[in-house]
């Protein structure tokens, strides 16, 4: 029997996810409330930005539809990543309840099982809302074939960066289950940062957001290219095309941390 490849894992992922969707449908009221509630959270997020712009015409030199492009693209990437990884933030609970042990006795990679577990479509709300905002903002972009390419690669890479951040920081729970909120500062904090033009932050923060928590690649650099703007910090133009590199590096780092985490778990049993 050939050892299963990524395509097979993806299929298994889909099969597990599908079962969870059907399970969630057993409680349609809760399902709908959760989906609507989730859309509401993110929808109100944008209303907040819109209210902000009722008091000014430009935020640090960026117009509403430019900020909407930043917001929409990051939110879309986050929604995709968030939907895909499902329960990775709950590893601590899985360890405590023994569910992780059960998963380890199954012939499917642990990360595939953890991400697919309790798969939920309630982020559909966020996905829809982000897509609408992004679509609207796109109508203001002066499109060229290269810009289309950059836009597509931005969304894919952005999702990879968020995926990596969520998986990587969730791994803290392999070591301690007391400090889950610590991870939120980097995951959700990173997501919040991307709602604004990064030029509002001091240079040191900007460097951190480029090289340490690389969320600047989720939307900031590629959007600068889409909008035909130069970087206020004067970083090289090459950064505007480097999102795929950032996405792949973040993913690789996260997978490494994941492997280390699992190894820690199997060597300490706690």
């Amino acid at each position: 029997m050939a050892s299963p490849g990524p395509a097979q894992h993806l299929r298994t992922y889909g099969q597990i996810a599908w079962l969870w969707i059907r399970a969630a449908w057993q409680y349609p009221t809760s399902f709908v409330l959760l989906a609507v509630g989730n859309g509401l959270i993110t929808g109100l997020d944008f209303v907040g930005l819109w209210i902000m712009f009722s008091h000014l015409s430009r935020l640090d030199g960026f117009t509403l539809h430019e900020v909407a492009l930043l917001y929409g693209s990051a939110s879309l990437a986050l929604a995709v990543a968030d939907t895909a990884i499902g329960s990775v933030e709950r590893i601590g609970t899985y360890i405590r309840t023994g569910r992780l042990d059960q998963m380890m006795t199954k012939p499917v990679p642990l990360l595939v099982q953890v991400c697919a577990d309790q798969f939920t479509l309630r982020r559909l709300g966020r996905l829809t809302q982000a897509a609408v905002v992004f679509g609207w903002a796109c109508t203001y972009v002066d499109w060229t074939p290269l810009r289309v390419l950059v836009a597509v690669s931005m969304l894919v890479s952005g999702a990879l960066v968020f995926f990596g951040l969520f998986v990587g920081f969730s791994c803290i729970q392999f070591w301690t289950t007391d400090a889950t909120e610590f991870a939120n500062a980097f995951t959700y904090g990173g997501a919040t940062v991307t709602q604004y033009p990064l030029s509002i932050f001091p240079r040191e923060v900007m460097v951190g957001l480029t090289f340490v928590i690389p969320v600047a690649f989720v939307n900031w650099y590629p959007c600068l290219y889409l909008l035909g703007r130069s970087d206020p910090f004067g970083t090289p133009d090459a950064f505007q095309f480097a999102s795929p590199v950032a996405g792949i590096l973040t993913m690789a780092a996260a997978l490494l941390v994941w492997r280390t985490g699992v190894r820690h778990y199997t060597s300490t049993g706690s």
């Binding site: 099969q15 597990i16 079962l19 569910r99 380890m104 006795t105 012939p107 990679p109 060597s267 300490t268």
Partner: protein, 325 residues
Amino acid sequence: MTADHTSGPLIDVRDLERTFDVRRRVEGRRRRTREQVVAVHDLTFSVDGGEMVGYIGPNGAGKSTTIKMLTGILVPTGGEVRVRGLDPSRQRVELARRIGVVFGQRSTLWWDLPLRDSFDLLQKMYRISPARYRENLDRFVDLLDLGAQLDTPVRQLSLGQRMRGDITAALLHDPEVIYLDEPTIGLDVVSKGRLREFLRALNRERGTTLLLTTHDLQDIEALCDRVIVIDHGTSVYDGTLAGLHAQGGSTRTLVVDLVDEAPPIDVPGAEVRKVEGPRQWLSFPSDASAAPIVAAVAASYAVADLSIQEPDIEDVIRDLYSRGA
């Protein structure tokens, strides 16, 4: 199945060692101190294909630690484990196809969906061929009498039905060995009986190896020809159930009802354990014959009644534990 897989024991455990670092807060000290706790120590045993082995011991003896190391969930700190020639912790995913695990109180089934859906997913996860899957499912559902429950959401099943569902789930991919952790806990007598009967049939028909941890000694008596007793992380007995009775230095008891009260009976080969009015309890080695003792008692005393008590397996194991401690 290829020849190199069938040579040698199915499970081979040698000098297995597992220690844990535990941090403990000590009274009067600000810092927590690190402490090493030995969970499994110097454990050696092997299991051949087709055996049914009871793995028993008191809570905290190291049973579940051993099972975790056998399934690859936990890496040993010393010694060696091989299951079908595979190193569980390094080849965990590969091994997973060949083993089945049932954790007694935790179900792997999808709570809100019909039993059948969980089984269907497992077919895909283990990539079981459709023909084999159907065949196994039909067989197990028939043997375990689950036909009527297949389309019922798991949350509506009784504890016994759920356990049978979990055991089916663990067997669909034809594992060579199945680990059962407290499979009969919380079940009623009828369910327990049915489950034991099924496991016997499984072993007889397919040669599935069974490693069973349990507190229910009737499980052992009904299923296992071999018992491994573990205490303080190491094996204190490995052999037949009958041998366990003898090995434990276990004794049978002769209960003598005398016509009148008397001082403790003095006969060779037996010892008085208790006197209560006219009734006396005499213990003698399990492997000795009762006849000469009964004759000796009857010859010297006026006996109203006699009875012999077989040793209780729990007492035997308790004996072993106390000697190991």
